[in-house]
């Protein structure tokens, strides 16, 4: 970004630095807001259909165009020409604002995503906090949609959405906390620069917490209680049709890519890889390719999970967040804090070993306490049964 601004100023001398910066910002925003959604939604819906089809032993889309590649285009045309049905009792203003906000919230996350060496919209000092803050807008959109539809299914879906999203926000923040501790900054570029070893390798438990909680935050299977079609029709977007529904869908896929991108940046080293660097155009391009490959791999894992696991019950869902992920996150924060303050023995790589050991210790502690608690509650239940008879 900075290199591009400098190039503009030197090549076109009448351009002032501020104007050049403005032009670059407008261009990059336009790419993020108009080009990226099209590519991401069309590309990843196609990938999702193909992957799910393979898992379920089907072929998947293969009619529209070669290999079914134009399926996304066909869907877009269908959505655009569909009649829009707004229920008469709906609160119209909020009803129409909700899909706009859902899409906007997902796109805004991309502002702090370092997609390639030096290519980042806003390298905020509180970058990762910005992600958490903007992500909360999506919850507001879900609640707005469910409330304004004046439909009982939609309202139930919205309540569930808020209960689920706030429950899984805390494990995400705790996992981020561990990464911030290890990197010493909330700035995305510094976090990427700190990963000489990808944090996913030295902080595997934090990575797992983040991945599971992100799947819940996006509301995908097995945590798709927000739109559990066998219970509450389609959840908060029951009453939406046509393009308004399409924007919830676009928002969901943008959120999916954004979450996977954040996971890549925090835990898989972002754009880092052999020969990638901010010095040459080739290095920048290579960094972008690494970033896309890593992000796609994370998305692929999410699709794999979706194709493999069944939807879990709402009380299990909340229990899993509050009684497993949050305590695990708290234990992890404490063990990592202790491990980072240990006197460094010998090489600096011993710091990574200490982090890994802290992670494994936290996981072991959690597993032990869960098994003890489970045994106790199981024997209590058995005693109750025996007492009754």
């Amino acid at each position: 970004m900075e290199a591009l601004i400098n190039w503009l100023v030197t090549t076109f001398p009448p351009l002032s630095e501020g104007l050049a910066r403005f032009i670059v910002y407008v261009l990059y925003s336009a790419v993020l807001a108009f080009v990226a959604p099209v590519i991401i939604v069309v590309g990843y819906t196609y990938m999702e259909r193909k992957v799910l089809a393979r898992i379920q032993d089907r072929i998947g889309p293969n009619r529209a165009g070669p290999l079914g590649l134009f399926q996304g285009l066909a869907d877009a045309i269908k959505m655009l020409t569909k009649e829009d049905v707004t229920p008469v009792c709906a609160d119209r203003v909020v009803f129409n604002l909700a899909p706009i906000l859902a899409t906007m919230a997902a796109i805004l996350v991309f502002a702090v995503l370092p997609v390639a060496p030096g290519v980042i919209g806003a390298d905020l000092q509180a970058g990762i906090l910005y992600v958490v803050a903007v992500g909360a807008l999506g919850e507001v959109a879900a609640l707005m949609a469910g409330w304004s539809s004046r439909n009982k299914f939609a309202l139930l879906g919205a309540f569930r959405a808020v209960a689920q999203l706030i429950a899984y926000e805390i494990p995400i923040v705790l996992a981020i906390l561990v990464v911030v501790m290890a990197a010493g900054s909330m700035q995305m570029s510094v976090i990427v620069a700190a990963q000489d070893v990808p944090f996913g390798l030295v902080l595997p438990v934090a990575f797992l917490i983040f991945l599971v909680a992100s799947i819940a935050e996006i509301g995908r299977s097995p945590f798709d209680l927000i739109e559990a079609e066998s219970e509450i029709v389609a959840g908060f977007h029951t009453e939406y049709s046509g393009m308004k529904f399409a924007f919830f869908f676009i928002g969901e896929y943008m959120h999916l890519f954004a979450s996977a991108g954040i996971a890549t940046t925090l835990f898989l080293g972002g754009w880092r890889g052999p020969f990638a660097g901010p010095d040459s155009w080739f290095g920048v391009l290579l960094g972008f390719i690494y970033f896309v490959i890593k992000t796609t791999a994370v998305i692929w894992v999410m699709m794999w999970v979706r194709g493999t696991l069944f939807r879990i019950r709402i009380d299990h869902l909340l229990d899993f967040a509050w009684k497993f992920l949050v305590p695990l996150g708290l234990i992890l924060v404490v063990t990592v804090a202790v491990a980072l303050k240990l006197p460094v023995i010998g090489a600096s790589s011993s710091r990574w070993v200490a982090l890994l050991a802290a992670n494994l210790a936290a996981a072991l502690l959690m597993m032990l306490s869960v098994s003890v608690l489970a045994r106790r509650s199981r024997s209590a239940a058995l005693r109750e049964v025996a007492g009754v008879e």
Binding site: P99, A122, L129, L155, V180, M186, E239, W322, P327
Partner: protein
């Protein structure tokens, strides 16, 4: 610093423009044939009865309260985590005590049955 937030501002405008433009295009080309049946509230075979916007169960409220506790905790711990590598040992011990108090709060809520979904 300020110029970075300028980018966020520009992106907000563009990100709002995308759905607004999409909805406008759809509004231009889609058919408009409303009728009372189509515009009634969606149901599954049985017509919805009674008011939808009612006071709802309180257990969501308790979860929301717990969330506020832990979110404020995160707001306190994030600056601590940023400055972590320059901090002396006593700051670490303090933070551990802070986390322990919160963990106790979670255990308390758990034992009181606030985390039970009825």
């Amino acid at each position: 610093m300020l110029s970075e937030f300028a980018f966020v501002g520009v992106l907000v405008i563009f990100a709002t423009l995308l759905p607004v433009a999409g909805l406008a295009v759809a509004w231009l080309i889609r058919p408009k044939k409303p009728n009372p049946i189509k515009q009634s509230t969606y149901e599954c075979g049985i017509e919805a009865r009674g008011e939808t916007w009612v006071q709802f169960r309180a257990c969501y409220y308790i979860f929301a309260l717990l969330f506020v506790v832990f979110d404020v905790e995160a707001a306190f711990l994030l600056p601590w985590a940023v400055a972590y590598q320059q901090l002396a040992l006593y700051a670490v011990i303090e933070a551990i005590i802070f986390v322990a108090i919160l963990a106790y709060a979670l255990i308390y809520a758990w034992r009181k049955g606030a985390l039970r979904w009825i």
